[in-house]
């Protein structure tokens, strides 16, 4: 049993922290919130040069052959800096399932450009309800010989407006419902019939609504097997969810650090406000939350990395991450007082992102229900 990162992970953490501290300052973050693309192509290509995009790809696909836990460490740092951009959507939501379910042809075609930072991907799964749920999937892919014709709408697809490719989950068997009869397709974003529009969001994080009108794809564009798209989503829900939790965990630590520093610095009634028990105890509660989250996430990520079934551990982590990220921001703002309420202060940057992270890959209710099922209820 070892709670520490190994040497490689520690080095990666330090390197990532240093790089992002310079390349991804809070003023840059704010600029990118207003930027239509929503990311910095220069920062993105530098990350590719550092090997981040293909961190866990085997070398034959242009990757670094690193471990899943190494990627988790990277996500913690990206979360700490609330790094804007399509890194997670490309790498976490799309490249990871391609790595698992792709044919050799698909992997050779799609993964190296991702590793090189040349391609951006978006996951198109959620529909109008905004839920990360198979129940609401109505986007249809109707068979037409060896081809499929896709009609429907997707919502909250991250960075679809600048994506080169989309991973789209469609209902291929309309006689089925829920997790049955779904298929995952790999589609060029510039395909005829695809119309993408940006949903204006609190943090300008590139979330999109995509309309599919008679979009033609072939059976070679299927990821995995026909009507077995749920396998792809389920896999994603383990791997990508825990990475998202790691990102949120990094953000929580940053908010706590910032708040603690403020409580030591801000003087009222002739004392730093952190001297007052009510404030001090709030901070302690936040520390308990943040540490608890880190450990629950680490354990779940480790379990995922062993290849073991980790449904329970991951859902526990996401439910906790959702709760803690929100609480740390709210209590953090309250401890800051009025200054925490301003646009100028950094804490608002984190608060604006809570809901995007909370609902990505399943809200608290979904994950608690998953936990209940795993408990045997």
């Amino acid at each position: 049993m070892d709670f520490d990162f190994n040497e490689q992970q520690s080095m990666l953490k330090t390197m990532a922290r240093d790089f992002l501290a310079g390349a991804c300052t809070k003023s840059r973050v704010r600029e990118l919130e207003k930027d239509e693309k929503g990311y910095d192509p220069d920062m993105f290509s530098k990350m590719a040069e550092l090997g981040w995009m293909g961190l866990i790809f085997p070398e034959k696909y242009g990757g670094m052959g690193a471990e899943f836990l190494d990627l988790m460490v990277l996500m913690e740092e990206m979360g700490r800096n609330i790094t804007p951009g399509p890194f997670f959507s490309t790498m976490g939501l799309c490249a990871i399932p391609i790595l698992k379910f792709g044919t050799e042809t698909q992997k050779k075609k799609y993964l190296p450009p991702v590793a090189e930072g040349r391609n951006i991907w978006s996951l198109a799964y959620t529909e109008k309800s905004g839920r990360f749920s198979p129940v609401d999937i109505n986007c249809r892919a109707v068979a037409d010989g060896k081809n499929y014709v896709i009609n429907g709408e997707k919502w909250f697809a991250p960075f679809a407006h600048i994506a080169d490719y989309l991973l789209v989950i469609c209902r291929t068997d309309v006689a089925k419902a829920g997790t049955d009869g779904l298929t995952a397709f790999l589609i060029r974003a510039a395909s005829r019939g695809i119309k993408t529009e940006l949903i204006p969001t609190l943090s300008g994080d590139g979330q999109c609504r995509i309309k599919f009108k008679n979009v033609k794809v072939t059976n070679r564009d299927i990821l995995g097997k026909l009507d077995q798209g749920w396998k792809v989503i389920n896999y994603l829900m383990q791997r990508a969810t825990i990475l998202k939790c790691a990102e949120m965990s990094g953000a929580c630590e940053a908010v706590l650090d910032m708040t603690l520093a403020y409580a030591k610095d801000r003087v009222q009634f002739d004392k730093p406000i952190g001297s007052f028990m009510a404030i001090q105890h709030k901070l302690v509660d936040l520390l308990t939350d943040v540490e608890g989250l880190q450990y629950v996430v680490h354990n779940a990520a480790w379990l995922v990395s062993t290849g073991a079934r980790a449904d329970m551990a991951v859902s526990l982590a996401k439910a906790k991450a959702n709760e803690v990220y929100q609480r740390v921001c709210i209590d953090g703002i309250k401890i800051h007082g009025a200054i925490g309420f301003t646009m100028d202060h950094d804490i608002g940057c984190y608060f604006r992102r809570v809901k995007a992270d909370e609902f990505m890959l399943g809200d608290t209710d979904l994950h608690l229900e998953k936990v209940a099922g795993e408990m045997g209820l």
């Binding site: 007052f276 901070l283 302690v284 480790w302 709760e323 936990v371 408990m375 209820l377």
Partner: protein, 401 residues
């Protein structure tokens, strides 16, 4: 980074499981502080305690020379975890001896004391049962305010004063005690010492304090010119406060691993209950509200598990967990409270049924936990005390009082 246990630990778990199966046939053991109340529970726990000692588990992480096995903290954790899960009583009779006296004597006692006291603790015998006397009527959270005096006269201390909330004093052979040895110290903390008191000494009066559920755990102790040999001083005279901080860390550290297994078991019982109990034609387990509450409890329980593992790992690295122990103790209290209250919401009106009644649900475990948790959350330091420690020692904030 990994969170797996080794083969040795897995085998240990199996052995403990077997032990529970053969020793606890058909009985619901009362463990922890509750076993101190009724004679029959105490006697049963004592039997088990001796057997655990014979198996080499009771103080397994202690060095062999003091009756331990030199086992790792991880192995000890596995034993505590599994024993708690299986409801094995007698793992910490009187709590103090195994909980912190042993470790404290190893850290800042002398060799003579270690040789004298540790083997009987390790043997799980009545002679190895300790109580701890810290609190006084005017010194609860304000521990430094203790007034009970131990004044040196020749080769003895003369002890006068009183202690309160002393659990297990009515059963203990020895007492681990904080006293004022320098009544004139400018700073209250600088006049405190730790001494060992022989509970058979003349001049000690014990008055029971029964809790609101009729359980006798606590006591009041009165000392009238009690003689304590100077060889019973632990560590350095008047430096007791600082020794105490370490003892308290050991005390608080042990709570999470001891509690987690039992909490997990209770949650499993509740799950079983809602699967088997129907309401309005459907099992309670189908009710989204029930599912949601129990899942929330699982999140908290998992957090507690990771906190317990972390503190075990740190201790294995030689770190004395001060803030971690405080954090875990407070978190344990939260988990206990939430499982108890959720449990009562689920068994409903049956929450109020006497734990030994034939109509009690889930063997009375929920009601038991519900009655106990407020007291446990106060014992060993209130939430506020734990949080003050974390605020100062971990977060570097000024003392808030």
């Amino acid at each position: 980074m990994d969170f797996k246990f080794g083969e040795k630990e897995d085998r240990l778990r199996e052995e403990i499981k077997k032990f529970a199966k053969s020793e606890l046939v058909g009985m619901v053991g009362v463990s922890g502080l509750e076993e101190e109340s009724r004679d029959e529970d105490w006697e049963f726990s004592l039997q088990i305690s001796k057997k655990l000692a014979q198996r080499g588990w009771l103080t397994m992480a202690w060095p062999k020379e003091y009756g331990g096995q030199g086992a790792s903290f991880t192995e000890q954790y596995v034993y505590m975890d599994e024993a708690s899960y299986r409801g094995i009583p007698g793992t910490q009779m009187g709590v103090s001896g195994i909980g912190w006296v042993g470790q404290s004597l190893m850290l800042f006692g002398n060799e003579e004391q270690r040789k004298k006291y540790l083997p009987s603790i390790a043997a799980g015998e009545p002679d190895g049962i300790w109580c701890t006397a810290y609190s006084e009527p005017n010194a609860g959270s304000d521990f430094a305010n203790i007034q009970t005096r131990a004044i040196k006269t020749g080769d003895e201390y003369i002890l006068n004063g009183q202690k309160i909330w002393t659990s297990c004093a009515h059963r203990a052979r020895w007492c681990w005690m904080a006293v004022r040895t320098d009544p004139n110290a400018v700073k209250k903390q600088h006049g405190i010492s730790l001494i060992i008191l022989d509970m058979k000494s003349p001049g000690i009066t014990i008055k029971p304090i029964v809790n609101y559920a009729g359980i006798h755990i606590f006591n009041e102790l009165f000392f009238d010119n009690v003689k304590v040999p100077v060889s019973n001083l632990v560590g350095t005279e008047n430096r007791g406060w600082y020794h105490l901080m370490q003892s308290l860390a050991f005390e608080r550290h042990s709570i999470a691993p001891q509690f987690y297994g039992g909490a997990k078991r209770t949650l499993e019982y509740i799950v079983k209950y809602v699967l088997e109990t129907k309401y309005n034609g459907k099992p309670m387990a189908a009710d989204p509200l029930v599912r949601h509450k129990l899942a929330e409890r699982a999140v908290e329980l998992e957090t507690l598990r990771m906190f317990s593992l972390e503190i075990t790992w740190k201790m294995g690295k030689g770190i004395i967990p001060v803030y971690e122990a405080a954090r875990n103790k407070a978190y344990c209290d939260l988990v206990m409270r939430n499982i108890a209250t959720t449990g009562t919401e689920i068994i409903g009106a049956y929450s109020q049924v006497d734990v030994r009644s034939k109509w009690a649900k889930i063997m009375g475990n929920i009601t038991r936990m519900y009655m106990m948790f407020p007291g446990i959350s106060i014992a060993g330091g209130t939430d506020e005390v734990q949080k003050n420690i974390i605020g100062q020692f971990k977060m570097g904030l000024p003392r808030p009082y």
